[in-house]
Amino acid sequence: MSLLSIRNLSVTFRTASGPFKAVDGVDISVEPGEVLGIVGESGSGKSVAMLGLMGLLPPTATVTADEIAFQGRDLRGLSRRERRKIIGKDMAMIFQEPIASLNPCFTVGQQIGETLREHLGLDKAARRERTLELLRKVGIPEPERRMRAFPHQLSGGMSQRVMIAMAIACEPKLLIADEPTTALDVTIQAQILDLLLDLQRERGMAMILITHDMGVIAETANRVVVQYAGTQVERQQVVDLFDEPRHPYTAALLAAMPERARGGRLPTIPGVVPGQGDRPTGCLFNPRCPKADERCRTVQPPRQPRELGEALCHYPLGADPRRPEDIPPGFGPDGLAGFEGGARPSDITPDMRGAAR
């Protein structure tokens, strides 16, 4: 049995300009002890999907799903109180902005203590003991002193450690980390990632790691979900994803990494992630995709089988069924040639979507 199993999760926001589907039909399963990476550009609905799972979205959001089961238990329809018993204990989350998610009015010790009181019912002395142990565990020097510190007295790296200490206080079975290192220096990022992976290995804790950094994914994940404009466009084992991306968007993300670049110019993806007002018909990636044709612009793409990375694409890389003469000019049947040269900067404005075609 999977630790977490989500099927067909969607989130729709009510906004002044009409409903906006920020997450559309997301499936996630996580096995015990596994690290699942979710990657995608900002605005692709990574955070909203996880906040929806945790029941932390504002009332303007409508969350629907065919299944949200944690340890076999259906979380849909649980009362807020019952959900709270699970969340924070067996399933915990670290947020994108550590400073914003700590309460500025309470000391570090008080905040960790509160979690311990609520979920484990520890007494005062035991709470203090455990808090010190947790702070030491996450590598905070002088924990006795830091316990009495308020969040604003901590550096970014320190507050992220405090968040982690709080999240692992009850030894969760699943930790969801939303861009845990995006705001941090590489050196501190490396320390935090090592810390998370140590915890994951030591305790067999499963982890969902959300990031927009392919390098972070390469270092940490077992399995990867690539998300684009609210949909999952590819799902693969990490090694296969890097070796043989199947969705053109995944390939483009990989190609745009400066460390993978060969020549002087970096391959780019023209345009930006579509927002509320400019969702295209057919495939959501079609305005930016060099392989797009009429079909892509009108028909929603199917989900490909597992061997093809479960890509949401009519023409997955390595298995484009079109006759060579029907593939848009400049690209081989499976090739990535379109991403190799990169677009000219003057080709890249949203008004010129599709220039790459």
């Binding site: 020097p141 050196t187 990494m257 900067p345």
Partner: protein, 334 residues
């Protein structure tokens, strides 16, 4: 060719008030920074948050004057320059900031934003300014109709293009880029890096490129200067820095950078602890509390930049030849 920027022991000290009844404290944000930049090259400046990169950028752009040392830009000493010379220098050096959201005035239209430096520093007519602004928009890959829009109508990457257009309006020789792509997604980052490369080639610009992302730096830089707690500790040509890093801190930075593919990273040399407080920097070498090669000497005496092959490095262990050879990780794809 003579360097376009010469920094000789440049320093910036801030006096910080620590409450009503306590004496002010000195914070040495940059100290004894000596380096040169040749015309047309890209010098990258890297280091952890708070190591003094932006402070150095503010001195290079004459937003602040150094409190010690001499800074010579385009042949002029900024401390002794007259008003006319300073005015010329100010258009010679322009800056692009990290945050594409905060650095543009939300109440100004794009056209006005780009024309502002022209208005202040030139006597072009309104029509000439407009023509120039439209040319600049095209130069950075935007369209003439964007002239009348407000910044909030643009994505992060497009705002960074607007910032670049404004920065090149006065036809500067030097652009200081303070984390120009750190807030952007990888695909947008690639667009901006390509744009910067194009402009450099076309306009012969000199770049001082500040970043904490070593993969980006390897892609853009000719030479790299690594800073630690306000001081340069290693300066080297880009390939040398990545394949033969000397200073233990440089090595740790490289080891901390994520790999480009799964399984590529070996056990990394962990860098423990954080940057010490600049109020009371450690005695001796500032890196010694975090350095695996620290010894008695490095805890009391401070190393200065010395030549070692193609590299300038400040470390006694390098001088004494007791540093093991670097184990450069295959950082980029072969």
């Amino acid at each position: 060719m003579s360097p376009i920027v010469i920094a000789d022991k440049v320093g910036q000290t801030y006096s910080i008030s620590r409450g009503a009844f306590r004496p002010t404290a000195d914070l040495k944000a940059v100290q004894e920074a000596s380096f040169e930049v040749s015309a047309g090259e890209t010098l990258a400046i890297v280091g952890e948050s708070g190591c003094g990169k932006s402070t150095l950028a503010r001195m290079l752009t004459m937003i602040e004057t150094p409190t010690s040392g001499t800074l010579t830009i385009d042949g002029i000493d900024v401390a002794t320059a007259g008003a006319a010379e300073l005015k010329r220098l100010r258009s010679t050096v322009q800056i692009v900031f990290q945050n594409p959201y905060g650095s543009l005035n939300p109440r100004q239209k794009v056209g006005a934003i780009i024309e502002e430096p022209l208005k202040i520093n030139t006597d072009l007519s309104a029509a000439e300014r407009r023509a120039k602004a439209e040319k600049l928009l095209a130069e950075v890959g935007l369209r003439p109709e964007h002239y009348n829009r407000y910044p909030h109508m643009f994505s992060g990457g497009q705002r960074q293009r607007i910032a670049v257009a404004r920065a090149i309006a006065l036809e500067p020789k030097i652009l200081v880029l303070d984390e120009p792509v750190s807030a952007l997604d990888v695909s947008i980052q690639a667009q901006i890096l390509n744009l910067l490369a194009d402009l450099q080639e076309r306009l012969g610009l000199t770049y001082i490129f500040i970043s904490h992302d070593l993969s980006v730096v390897r892609h853009v830089a000719d030479r790299v200067m690594v800073m630690y707690l306000g001081r340069p500790i290693e300066i080297a040509p880009v390939e040398t820095l990545y394949t033969d890093p000397q200073h233990p801190y440089t090595r740790a930075l490289l080891a901390a950078t994520p790999a480009a593919r799964p399984g590529q990273r070996g056990e990394r040399a962990k860098l423990v602890g954080e940057l010490p407080s600049p109020f009371n920097p450690p005695k001796g070498c500032a890196f010694n509390p975090r350095c695996p090669f620290a010894d008695e000497r490095t805890r009391t005496e401070r190393p200065t930049l010395k030549r070692h092959g193609k590299t300038m490095v400040a470390c006694f262990a390098v001088e004494e030849g007791r540093l093991p050879p670097p184990s450069p990780r295959e950082h980029a794809e072969a």
